[in-house]
């Protein structure tokens, strides 16, 4: 009897919950009254209220114009607060352009977005825009549909020199050089940069100061010396430094040392068909890394691409230094407040060679080919709106990703943002210090995702099983080149 009562209560609770949520939906729909538009607006969560209140006027304009609403599907590879940010911006764009309805669909990873987009193209219902990452630029350029036509269209070509599209100013020309150079292939800027970052080092200055070090270490030797000093402390942390075992850090180090990862100038003067995983720069970097690990200074979390574990170790004070993506600068500033002094610095470099330059990482917005003119214009307008000075600045402040346009940097400087949070400037300074050479641009490479896996697996093997760097990288080199050769067989010519 008791159980029945409990069950009844549970059912009542469920029904009540269902009712309350459905009534929320109703209000939203009534307020927006624009039919289609409302659904997207609601998905924006908190923003729903703001937009809906402004929506009244918007809807009137839309119905006055024609009542036709063009859907623009934008597939995003974020599932956290960055997805919410995208939804907010989509809602704001929809409010300003009632003839368009930008819909955000969220995926767990870049690969998921890409696979889904390729399949959607073949099944005839592709999105207008997708969010895809830098390492797969070659793959995106090579992607074709079942008839053999390229899937993506160059945004430069689509913009065609216009300075304004459906009322939104074009900001492509204002994109910072590091990103422009990275994503320009065969003279054409293919995709619209969005989240762009570089690697910086975060320093727990409390520990470093205690060990008598006043400035963040700048070179490999400095890091090793700092670690020796820290390890000698009476209350030494369990480790000294960490960073995720992600191939991006290897690529960054090659850029710093001016070494190529692939032939044909890192695949920038012609298709790359050979990778160099046995170069001096790479071996030296891994030797230094392994040395830190053997001495107990480098803390390996035991997982490849472990962003969460490394960041936790730094926040928990288990390491004094964390080499990481600048994309989380704001996060670290916020999380370390009251814990310890967190100072960002350049990624440590090899003191034995001249510094060439760090590269970017991140993702861009790719536009699909074959959209009708109205949809294409809407998609382009949204992509430019998404990175207009205000939005790009907000995105930078929210995350730590680069302010992607020069105008947004000017805006941030005017607001005094960098005086307020100096750590946010480090990444921009590091990119500004980089020379514009193929090495510091990073490689355009087929099968890059698989090749990156080959690299990180080899590193894990070296760190965990104490293998010889040169021998293990020779195996990795053979495997990576096989992967690339196969990719070129399927995609080149």
């Amino acid at each position: 009897m008791k159980y029945r009562l409990l069950a009844l209560l549970a059912v009542i609770a469920l029904v009540a919950a269902a009712c309350s949520s459905s009534s929320d939906d109703e209000t939203a729909t009534t307020v927006a009254s624009g039919g289609e538009t409302a659904t997207t607006v609601v998905s924006g969560g908190e923003t729903a209220t703001t937009v809906a209140s402004g929506g009244d006027t918007a809807t009137t304009v839309a119905s006055a114009a024609s009542g036709e609403v063009t859907d623009i599907d934008f597939w995003v590879a974020f599932t956290d607060y960055r997805q919410e940010y995208s939804e907010e911006k989509a809602a704001a764009f929809n409010a300003a352009h009632p003839e368009y309805n930008v819909k955000i669909t969220s995926f767990a990873s870049y690969n998921d977005v890409f696979d889904a987009a390729v399949l959607a193209v073949d099944s005839g219902e592709p999105p207008a825009l997708i969010h895809f990452f830098e390492a797969a630029t070659r793959q995106a350029l090579d992607a074709v549909d079942s008839s053999g036509a390229p899937i993506f269209k160059s945004v430069t070509e689509a913009i065609g020199g216009r300075t304004e599209i459906v009322g939104e100013p074009v900001v492509l020309d204002s994109v910072i050089d590091a990103a422009r150079n990275y994503y320009t292939v065969d003279g054409s800027f293919y995709s619209m940069p969005w989240n762009t970052s570089t690697t910086v080092m975060f320093n727990n200055m409390d520990i470093l100061n205690e060990a008598g070090i006043t400035e963040p270490p700048a070179t490999w030797a400095d890091v090793t010396a700092a670690c020796e000093a820290i390890a000698a402390l009476p209350d030494a942390p369990s480790g000294c430094i960490t960073w995720p075992n992600h191939s991006w850090f290897v690529e960054q180090s090659l850029g710093q040392q001016g070494e190529l990862l692939a032939n044909n100038d890192n695949g920038r003067t012609g298709r790359a068909d050979e990778v160099f995983l046995e170069s001096d720069g790479l071996i030296n970097y891994l030797e230094w890394w392994k040395g830190l690990s053997d001495a107990g200074y480098y803390t390996y979390t035991g997982q490849q691409r472990d962003w969460g574990g490394t960041s936790n170790a730094y926040l928990a004070g288990e390491v004094a230094m964390l080499v990481y993506s600048s994309s989380d600068t704001t996060f670290f500033d916020r999380e370390t407040e009251g814990l310890f002094t967190n100072q960002a610095s350049f990624m440590p470099r090899n003191e034995a060679v001249d510094y060439v330059g760090n590269l970017i990482g991140g993702a861009t917005i790719w536009m699909l080919d074959g959209l009708d003119q109205v949809t294409e214009d809407g998609a382009l307008a949204f992509a430019n709106f998404f990175s207009n000075p205000e939005n790009a600045a907000e995105w930078h402040q929210l995350t730590g990703y680069e302010p992607i346009t020069k105008d947004s940097i000017t805006l941030l400087e005017g607001e005094g943002w960098y005086d307020e949070s100096p750590n946010s400037q480090v990444a921009s300074d590091q990119l500004a210090a980089a020379a514009d050479t193929p090495a510091s641009l990073g490689a355009l490479l087929g099968n890059f995702v698989a090749i990156r896996d080959v690299i990180t697996l080899a590193i894990e093997d070296i760190l965990v099983n104490d293998l010889d760097v040169a021998t293990r990288m020779a195996d990795a080199n053979a495997e990576a080149n096989k992967s690339l050769t196969e990719y070129e067989l399927l995609n080149a010519g």
């Binding site: 074709v144 995702v449 894990e460 992967s483």
Partner: protein, 459 residues
Amino acid sequence: MLIAGLVVAAILGPLYVRRNTINPTAARYGIGSAVAVLGAAVTPLAMGQCSFAEHSSGVDKLLGYLLMFGGAWLALMGARIFWDRADGKKKGDAAFAGEIRAGGFRLGLWVPWVLLSPTLIILLVFLYFPAAATFTLSTKLTRLGAPKSIDVCFTNFTELLITDPFKLVAYPLIAIALIYGARFWKSRSEPGSASRKGAEVAAVIAMLSVFVALYAMFSPGGGGQVAYRPVYINTVIISVGIVAFGMIGGLAVAYLAFRQIRGGGVYRTLLIWPYAISPAVAGVLFFMIFDPTAGIFTHTMDVWFGIDVPNYRESAVLAQSSIILASGWKILGYNILFYLAGLQTVPLEQIEAALIEGASTWQRFTKVVLPALSPITFFLLITNLTYAFFEVYATIDFMTKGAPAGKTSVAIYEIIRVGVNNGDLGRGAAQSVLLFIAVIAITMWQFRTSGERVSYGGS
């Protein structure tokens, strides 16, 4: 090459007819021969005789012959069904024909097909078609979104194996010889004698030799081959671990929970709960317990006892054990559920009789309860093995991502890593065909061996 294979098939056909049919007429010998040749010719023709091409390796040719043999065998099995029917040999339900009259649809033969069609269509679209597509993909070098795809014959399979065709033939033959040798020994030995004991030990060794033979057949990597041997080892260790832990633990807990205790119903309900958790959540849970930085267990050990627990992801033994623990824990509830139900069916009379005979608790458990549970154990063995093969991906992905250095990358994890994450559809498909064959083989072996020992009660 191809002709030689076909000639062999033409000779083997009549031999099969002679062994397997009651009424081997001259016509049947002829048909048997023709059917075998046709069956053997299917794969080489479908594949454009690629495995017998000029440049193909010994292992390629071996696989080609193996597939011809398989095709001939399947074709002959099909023919045998017709002959058996003609000879009035009945199987299954039909064996009871004397007592039960076979039913029939008065409206005609099409009625059952119409009634079955929803199921058949779903099976066709979501199971058979993708399965066929997987077989096709496994012979190609292809990527999603790439403009071309290249036929690579059986390279996706052969590169998982060692390159010496003679060893590839010899190892399985040795294992089979050991198994039949042990059986022969057992049949010639007196029950209870020392010789019988020896035969039983030999039978276990022969069974293990199958695992060793497979170990020797998979490539350790290098020379352009894929290092599949480590994956095989991981799969065996982790699967056997999960099944052993899940089933022994399940039976132990069920035996304890089955006793009359206060609030037994609550315990029993709570014990089954882990089964309702998805493998991904199980992975997250154990990650939260054992993670070196954020883990509850590691933190507690450190703060309370000052023990510095090593990072489970940096040691192969710890990483594999934690996967076994997490996955075994997840399937535990399922096993408990079935064992609890099974324990209720153990005949009370038998236990009473054993008590009167003076059997100890342990003897009652091993000699009465365990045999009575054997049908359940047999069923659970297959379901647990299927679980250990196919459903551990999410747990591994959350706990180790294959770390350290691939030591927890089991077959299913490797398939998804290669086929989905790296976009190498052909190799992924080939590896999943391999896993498919493995599961079929294990199930067949289970049915043959365990079937003899399973007691369903009664006389």
